[in-house]
């Protein structure tokens, strides 16, 4: 194992966070806080409890999940896309580093950043709403698994993308809508019967539900199924990454 290479890439990526602190940390924290203010404090105070939880507190896990997923994808996709774009990827491809080590370092850095951001947003939420964490360990597990899985997903997008527009398409046109429709702002019990069934096709439902369960011990779907779905998505991402490196897809000709 080339630990020096893993450390070099990891530190390089983490250093980029400090250079882009406003874009990487401050901006998502502020925008999520606005959700807390508008939907939690202002409008939320006029909405009834959902599943026995005040509306302001109810939306916190979903909003953390939204930031976690979009930032994981953004961090990892940009990290691998940018060297491709400016040409410095030659150094990565010619270095004595395995594909596993490349994934560990890039995905590790992206997941670290987004998980840290998730925790910052969680800390910020205490200023706006009263929340409790029923299963802290499971909360951290969901946080870590989601950060890793979506960082892997972002890594795949970064390799697939051959322009900046493609880099933004998946987070903006797929992940964000799926998150909004995945029970971030409501319980799926509140939907008409037919939509309750259709919404179960949305993988984000399982992530939000599981994460919310770790806070309030209430869930739209069984927590075991939520963990299983994350596992399935993680496995799918790993298979795709393995295929990318085996074939050199969009990395090597």
């Amino acid at each position: 194992m080339n630990f020096h290479a893993i450390a070099a890439i990891y530190k390089f990526e983490m250093a980029r966070t400090w250079r882009t602190l406003f874009q990487s940390v401050v901006s998502p924290v502020i925008s999520t806080s606005l959700y807390f203010v508008v939907f939690g404090s202002a409008i939320g105070s006029r909405i009834d409890e959902v599943q026995g939880v005040s509306y302001g507190a109810f939306i916190v896990p979903g909003l953390i999940m939204l930031s976690l997923m979009t930032q994981s994808i953004s961090n990892a996709s940009f990290a691998i896309y940018f060297p491709k774009f400016i040409g410095t990827v030659y150094e990565l491809l010619s270095a004595p580093i395995s594909y596993v080590e490349i994934v560990i370092s890039y995905v590790g850095a992206a997941a670290t950043k987004s998980a840290a951001l998730g925790l910052i947003i969680l800390g910020t939420s205490f200023f706006f709403v009263d929340i409790s964490i029923a299963h802290p360990f499971m909360m951290l597990l969901f946080l870590a698994l989601t950060a890793i899985t979506f960082s892997l997903f972002g890594f795949i997008i970064g390799i697939w993308a051959d322009n900046f527009e493609k880099l933004q398409i998946v987070p903006l046109l797929i992940v964000t809508p799926l998150t909004f429709l995945g029970g971030t702002f409501y319980s799926i019990d509140m939907l008409p019967a037919i939509w309750q069934k259709i919404t179960l096709l949305n993988p984000v439902v399982y992530l939000v539900s599981g994460f919310r369960w770790s806070f309030y011990d209430v869930a739209d779907v069984n927590v075991g199924i939520s963990l299983l779905m994350i596992g399935v998505f993680l496995a799918a991402c790993l298979v795709i990454v393995a295929w990318i490196f085996k074939t050199g897809y969009r990395l090597k000709s």
């Binding site: 020096h4 290479a5 070099a8 030659y90 150094e91 010619s94 004595p96 580093i97 000709s253």
Partner: protein
């Protein structure tokens, strides 16, 4: 000009640090970029790879360094097969690519240190300092790359390639777009590296560069290695001079009394061309003039021209060479 054998006697005496056998690269588009390339590069050599644009120079380097997948064939770097034992092969190699590709917002020190880590080496500030000082980058160590000139960025690329103390350095068009002064200082750096035992493979369009620095010269054209030769042997060819004798009156044929000089009648009978080797002790020029006088041929003017490496190169790449790959393979088997 006939294609020389791709392997010289030197290969038998010195264990090659890079050994390429039957290498092919076909792109998905169907373009056959490398055609059955066989090549040995000796440890400690400066090897210049020449070829026109699109000849396959960068593809060949990219395959050896792991950036491009070979279609078939075998490449070994100091005995390490580049795919099965890619770590062993790659940690010996430093690559300076043709394009100036740098992280704009990194400092010189950070990017060079990053490269060392990427190649699996622990931190060694003393080595990084030495590399930066050798390349006159020490004063710029805290500058962001975006603030550097093109020439300085080129030096940074070299510093990155040297950060992990490679035994082999690939320089792909290292002095493209670099001013004369910087080019010559880079040549000094290259010579210094060779003095420390680093094998250097450089591609260049500047034939002067190859003449100045290389121990051996290889020529690649349309994906085929068509010549590998010691530079000094090539310089022998450079010794060829052409003496053009412009005649007062045109002639139809070369007189028999001048036959021993093997003159060519050119310019519609208005000039005679005499080819000789300026390095020879007896060039035959004096006897030629005596014989011309005896034959009653009066001269209007004379001029001489030395064949350059460029002319040899142009001649090589435009002359189709029959079955060079087969020749190369046969020679490879002979050497095996």
């Amino acid at each position: 000009m006939p294609a020389g054998p791709p392997f010289s006697d030197k290969d038998d005496a010195v264990q090659p640090i890079i050994s390429i056998r039957g290498l092919n690269k076909r792109y998905d588009s169907g373009f056959h970029a490398l055609k059955n390339v066989n090549l040995d590069i000796a440890d400690g050599d400066i090897f210049a790879l020449l070829g026109p644009n699109g000849a396959g120079k960068t593809t060949l380097i990219s395959v050896i360094c792991g950036i491009v997948n070979p279609s078939d064939g075998e490449v070994r770097v100091d005995g390490h097969e580049i795919i099965a034992d890619y770590r062993g092969a790659r940690e010996l190699i430093g690559l300076v690519p043709q394009e100036l590709t740098t992280d704009a917002f990194e400092t010189v020190w950070a990017t060079v240190s990053f490269s060392r880590g990427l190649f699996g080496k622990p931190k060694n500030p003393a080595h990084i300092e030495k590399v930066l000082k050798d390349l006159s980058l020490w004063d710029k160590r805290n500058d962001m790359l975006m603030t550097l000139s093109g020439g300085m960025k080129r030096r940074v690329m070299i510093a990155k390639a040297l950060s992990h103390e490679p035994r082999i350095l690939f320089l792909d068009e290292p002095t493209a777009g670099v001013d004369v002064e910087l080019r010559r200082s880079m040549w000094e750096v290259v010579r210094s590296l060779r003095a420390h035992g680093v094998t250097i493979i450089l591609t260049t369009h500047y034939l002067e560069e190859a003449e100045q620095m290389a121990d051996r010269i290889g020529v690649i054209n349309a994906g085929e290695i068509i010549l590998v030769e010691e530079k000094n042997e090539l310089m022998q060819k450079l010794g060829e001079k052409r003496l053009t004798l412009h005649l007062q009156d045109s002639i139809d044929t070369v007189p028999d009394t001048l036959a021993r000089h093997e003159l060519d009648l050119v310019d519609n009978g208005h000039a005679l061309l005499y080819t000789y080797n300026a390095n020879d002790k007896r060039t035959g020029v004096n006897s030629l003039f005596r014989d011309l006088d005896s034959a009653g041929i009066r001269l209007r003017d004379v001029d001489t021209k030395q064949s350059s490496l460029e002319e040899i190169f142009v001649d090589l790449v435009k002359t189709p060479t029959p079955e060079p790959a087969a020749d190369a393979q046969a020679t490879a088997k002979d050497n095996a």
